[in-house]
């Protein structure tokens, strides 16, 4: 109140600054709303033309005007979850090694390499996955598995190399540094008193991490995993290069060794071909779907955090 009455130079400066900050914050909200509305508007031809069949359809046939997005949606969700599933144990392993076992001299190089891994452009992962990893994984992993346990549909042949599972692996490698660097940060914040309490009862370092360190860092680790999941859901370039871009998975061939198409790879590889309004609209609706999946992940993540927060306070 007093601020309003006085008209000193400083108060005016403060007010100007305040409105600048408010408009910066509003810009974020506005951009998001504009983006969302643009996507809805762009998908209108598809929403009206394809109806709900868009979300449940399993065929994508632009020539005959059939646009079913279910395989792409499932591929995006499954590759991301698999990637995070592979990344979690590796990333936590790195973090535990770093905080508990690594000699002081090894710590700096290790952080540098983790950061470098996070900085590699995804197209490099893509080309590496396509030319180097795909043939290797085909010969040494997929083929032996197909011949031994191929009777289980999800491990069925033929082995293509480029596939859903290769995409998950490449995604996992891209997600590992994100989770690992956050987990290192979190685990090094475990109070020394708790660690020593566990050690003083005869625990090994490993037991101390599992029983005190990780539970203490649990919430942060969940946040890190969600961040990694968000990265995996949205990753485009590397996925497009290694996933095979076939609509086979999961309905024509449920094998994780089959090529597939994710939402992002579908959009990236077909946008230039989308000449009709409904074709373009269908791709934009795919983008809208991805945005909604990402938002839903975020909301679920906030829910988990809030819940664990409340539990911790109880």
């Amino acid at each position: 109140m007093q601020g309003k009455k006085s008209s000193s130079h400083y108060n005016r400066q403060d007010a100007v600054f305040k409105y600048l900050l408010i408009s910066a914050s509003l810009l974020v909200v506005g951009l998001f709303a504009a983006l969302f509305l643009m996507l809805i508007r762009g998908s209108l031809p598809s929403i009206l033309g394809n109806g709900l069949g868009f979300l449940t359809g399993t065929t994508w046939d632009p020539i005959n005007g059939i646009y079913g997005a279910l395989p792409a949606i499932l591929t995006t969700i499954v590759t991301s979850l698999l990637a995070v599933g592979i990344a979690i144990p590796v990333a936590l392993g790195i973090a535990i090694f770093f905080t508990e076992y690594a000699p002081v001299k090894a710590k700096f190089p290790l952080t540098v390499f983790i950061d470098l891994l996070a900085a590699i452009p995804s197209v490099i992962f893509g080309i590496w996955g396509l030319w180097i990893i795909a043939p290797l994984i085909k010969t040494y992993v997929q083929q032996p598995l197909v011949t031994s346990i191929g009777f289980i549909p999800i491990f069925g042949g033929p082995a293509y190399g480029i596939s859903l599972s290769l995409a998950s692996l490449i995604l996992a490698i891209m997600v590992i540094p994100i989770i690992a660097s956050l987990a290192i940060e979190l685990l090094s914040r475990t109070p020394i008193t708790l660690k020593e309490g566990m050690i003083s009862l005869g625990a090994t370092k490993w037991e101390s991490v599992m029983r005190v360190g990780l539970p203490f860092a649990r919430m942060g680790v969940i946040a890190a995993v969600m961040l990694g999941l968000g990265r995996a859901l949205g990753e485009t370039m590397a996925i497009t290069m290694v996933i095979g871009n076939s609509y086979m998975w999961p309905f024509a061939n449920p094998s994780i060794f089959a090529p597939a198409t994710s939402i992002t790879s579908k959009i990236a590889s077909e946008f230039y071909e989308a000449t009709s309004a409904i074709y373009a609209g269908s791709l934009i609706e795919l983008a809208l779907t991805l945005l909604i999946i990402t938002l839903a992940t975020n909301v679920a993540f906030r829910y988990i955090i809030n819940k664990t927060n409340k539990e911790a306070k109880r």
């Binding site: 008193t193 309490g197 003083s200 009862l201 005869g202 911790a312 109880r314």
Partner: protein
Amino acid sequence: MDNCTYEKLDISGLDAWFGDKQALKGVSLRIKPKTVTAVIGPSGCGKSTFIRCINRMHELTPGNRVSGVVLLDGVDIYKSVDSMDVRRKVGMVFQKPNPFPNMSVSDNVVAGLKLIGAASKKELEAVAEENLKAVGLWKEVENDLKKSGASLSGGQQQRLCIARALAMRPEIILMDEPTSALDPASTAKIEDLVKTLKAETTVIIITHNVQQAARISDMTAFFYLGELIEYGETRTIFESPKSPLTERYITGRFG
């Protein structure tokens, strides 16, 4: 003091280093079973380092070193025993109560036993109850056994930590200024508890409070600059200290 002739702990020529800095210099002393030994001395005199050599916690920090002989019931804990086994036999209570916040009150008590495995859920519950009773906490937490260990008050937390150490049936319990973070009422409870503990086990307790040492201990060890200056029966130390340093410290003229 009873007429026990054998030694629970026999320490000779104990040296300890933090990197290049020597924190303990040739400490030798013997501790009889079922006694309370107070370790006193000004800050930085090596008290904590001394007790952390008895459960091999000192060596946890890279660069730290220990030399000398520590015999627990006649066995050299640095040569013949695995460090984890030493810590099961020598419990520790810390300056700041450190219950595990991710575990319930009863799980806190049996956290050490769970590491060994082997006990059934029922046995663990019984052990939790027995040790919570032993530290006088049972009546206070009987209905909150499933609550987090961190939900208790500071004094309760420290008694919970003592129960956690007791549950291992340790030969020795080391206490590193266990009451310095507590209010007077909680402190009194812990002091009473320490006096009853020696019926079962041997206690070595660091204290900054000289009166506390006089109240609860049978033996007192006075450390100064990493050396054991004087060690003997508490009454003797307080009534007629041999060293002028000891006298100056217990009369509050330094430290």
